[in-house]
Amino acid sequence: MKYTQGKYLLLEKKTLAKQIYDFTILCPEVAQAASVGQFVNILPEGHTLRRPISICGIDKEKGTLRIVFMAKGDGTLKLADTPKGANLDIVGPLGHGFTMNDVSGKTIITGGGIGVPPLLPLAKHYGKDAVVILGFRSADAVILKQDFEATGAEVIICTDDGSYGVHGMVTVPLAEKISGASQVLSCGPIPMLKAISAVAEENSVPCQVSLEERMGCGVGACLVCACKVKKNGEERFGHVCKDGPVFDSKEVMW
C-alpha cells in the first residue's frame, strides 16, 4: 500500500452539533486511494502527535474527503480552529477498512456517538438493503440523520435520555431487526461495540467492528495502538492502525 503525506486544502467547514465539526478536504491522491472504514492522520499545528480521524465520505471524482470529528482535547480543538481555505497536514489513507461483502440479505449498520460518521459510506453502499441504527446521548447530539435517510436505508435513531427517537440503547432495535440479517457493521464506543457483537454472535450473524485507540505513526511501525485479538486460536496484540481499525468481532478480545 502506498501512503501519501501532504498539505491539503480545507474546502468546506460546518458545525453539525456542539463540538462536532464537518470538514470537506481537497486531497485527490488520498481520496483516490481511500476505501470505506479507513482513516486519515492529521497533524494539528504545533503538535507532536497526529490525530486519527475516520473518513465519512469519499468523492473520487471531485478528489475530496469528508471527515466529521469531535473537538474534545487540545489537538482536535486545534484542528477545529482551522479556517476554511487553510491547509491541513494529512497522512493517508490508512488502515484496514470494512470488508464490503456482496450479501443477498439485509445489512445492519449500527453505532453511536462519534463512531457514526464512518458508517455513512456503508449506508450509501447498501442503500435500501440496509437498516441503520444509531445511538446518541440526547436529541442535540444527533448528527447526519438526513445524510443517512438520503441513502434509502431504514434509519432508527436511539437516545440515552429518550429526548429523540427510541429511548435506550441501539442493541434493543438491533435485537428486533437482526433476524435474517446477513451482516452487522458497526463503530462506536467499546462497551457499545461489545454489546452489538454479543447480539450478532447470539444470532450467528457475522459482525465487523471499527475500533479506536490512541495512535502514534498510524502506519503500523511504532506499535502503540495495541488491541488484544485472537486469530486461529492464538492470542496476540494487533494494531488498530494497520490490522484495523475494522476487525471481525470474533477476533477482538473485549
Partner: protein, 303 residues
C-alpha cells in the same frame, strides 16, 4: 552539495541520519513513503531473546512539545527477526543497526551472539530495560550494571557494538566511560526520559503502564547537554538523539559532539522527517561553505 558521509566505529554511512529504534519498525511501512536507501542507516525495533507481546494500551500520550510511550519492547524475538526481517533490510543499501535488549545480561548476550552470525552491520545494546535479576532496576542506571552487561555482550560478538545510554542517571559521562572501558565501540544517547501524566478527571495515569519514556522536541536541550558531556568524556564516537526534528537540530547535535544522529519522535509527527533533515543539513552546510559534515562534529566553542 556538501559531503554528508560519516564513519562511526569503522562503518561508513552515506549521511549521518538514522531513524531511531522503535519508531521505524523494520522499515517496511516507511518504504511506502520513500526509498530506505536515502537514509544513513536504520536502527531496528528492539529485539529480545523471545517474542514479547508488550504492554496494555494506551501506550502513548502527547505532552507539550513531546510524547510519552510505553510499548514494552513488543517484538517477535531474535530468531524471527533474523529469518523474516533482516534479509529484507540487508538489501536496502543503508547501514542496518540491530537494536537489542533483554531481561538479563545473558539474554542480551544470546541475542548478540545470534546476530554475530548474520550480515547485520552493527549492534545497538539498549541498557535502559529492567534487569529482572537485579530487582528490576535498569542495567544502565549504574556504572556496575552498565559495565557488566556491556562486557558479556562484547564477548558474544565481534560486530561494532553501540551501547545506548539511559538519561535517567546522575552522571551519564561516567556510565559512558564505564561501557567504553568494557569495549563498546560507540555510545548512543539519549534514550527516553522517564515521565508520567495523570488524567485529572479520572485520577488514572494516561498510560496503562503508569509511566513511560518521554521524547520529542521538549527533551532536545537535555540531549544536547548529555551528548556534549559524553563526547568530552570518551574517545569512542557518539551517536546523538533526543528530540531532533530539523536539519538545524541535527547540526546542533553534531556540534555538541555527535558523529551521527538518530531521529525518533519526529518521524511520528512527519514520516518524511529523516529525509527532510538530510536535505536541510546539506542546505545549511552549503550556505556556510562547509564542505564536509565531519567538520562540524564537536565543533562547539564552549565559553
Amino acid at each position: 552539495m556538501a559531503d554528508l558521509s560519516v564513519n562511526v566505529a569503522g562503518i561508513d554511512f552515506k549521511n549521518p541520519v538514522i531513524p531511531a529504534s522503535g519508531v521505524f519498525g523494520y522499515g517496511r511501512e516507511y518504504e511506502e513513503f520513500y526509498p530506505l536507501s536515502k537514509l544513513g542507516g536504520i536502527s531496528t525495533k528492539g529485539t529480545t531473546g523471545q517474542m514479547r507481546t508488550g504492554n496494555l494500551a494506551p501506550r502513548i500520550a502527547e505532552t507539550p512539545m513531546g510524547m510519552l510511550n510505553s510499548v514494552g519492547l513488543q517484538n517477535p524475538g531474535i530468531d524471527r527477526f533474523i529469518s523474516h526481517e533482516l534479509p529484507n533490510l540487508m538489501q536496502k543499501d543503508t547501514v542496518i543497526i540491530a537494536n537489542i535488549a533483554g531481561s538479563t545480561p545473558e539474554e542480551c548476550a544470546e541475542v548478540a551472539s545470534k546476530l554475530d552470525e548474520t550480515d547485520v552491520h552493527m549492534i545497538e545494546l539498549n541498557i535502559s530495560c529492567p534487569n529482572v535479576k537485579q530487582g528490576g532496576a535498569a542495567f544502565g542506571v549504574s556504572c556496575e550494571g552498565a559495565s557488566a552487561v556491556t562486557k558479556i555482550v562484547r564477548n558474544a560478538t565481534k560486530k561494532p557494538l553501540i551501547v545506548k545510554l539511559s538519561p535517567n542517571v546522575t552522571d551519564i559521562a561516567s556510565i559512558a566511560k564505564a561501557v567504553e572501558a568494557e569495549g563498546a565501540d560507540s555510545v548512543s544517547l539519549i534514550n527516553t526520559i522517564l515521565g508520567m501524566r495523570i488524567d485529572i478527571n479520572t485520577g488514572r495515569p494516561v498510560l496503562r503502564n503508569n509511566c513511560g519514556g518521554m521524547s520529542g522536541p521538549a527533551v532536545f536541550p537535555v540531549a544536547v547537554r548529555m551528548v556534549w558531556q559524553v563526547a568530552n568524556a570518551v574517545k569512542i564516537p557518539v551517536i546523538g538523539m533526543g528530540g531532533i526534528s530539523s536539519g538545524r537540530d541535527a547540526i546542533e547535535m553534531m556540534m555538541a559532539g555527535a558523529s551521527a544522529v538518530q531521529v525518533g519522535a519526529a518521524i511520528i509527527t512527519d514520516p518524511f522527517a529523516p529525509v527532510k533533515i538530510i536535505e536541510e543539513m546539506n542546505q545549511f552546510l552549503d550556505e556556510k561553505g562547509i564542505s564536509s559534515v565531519k567538520d562540524i562534529i564537536g565543533s562547539v566553542k564552549p565559553w
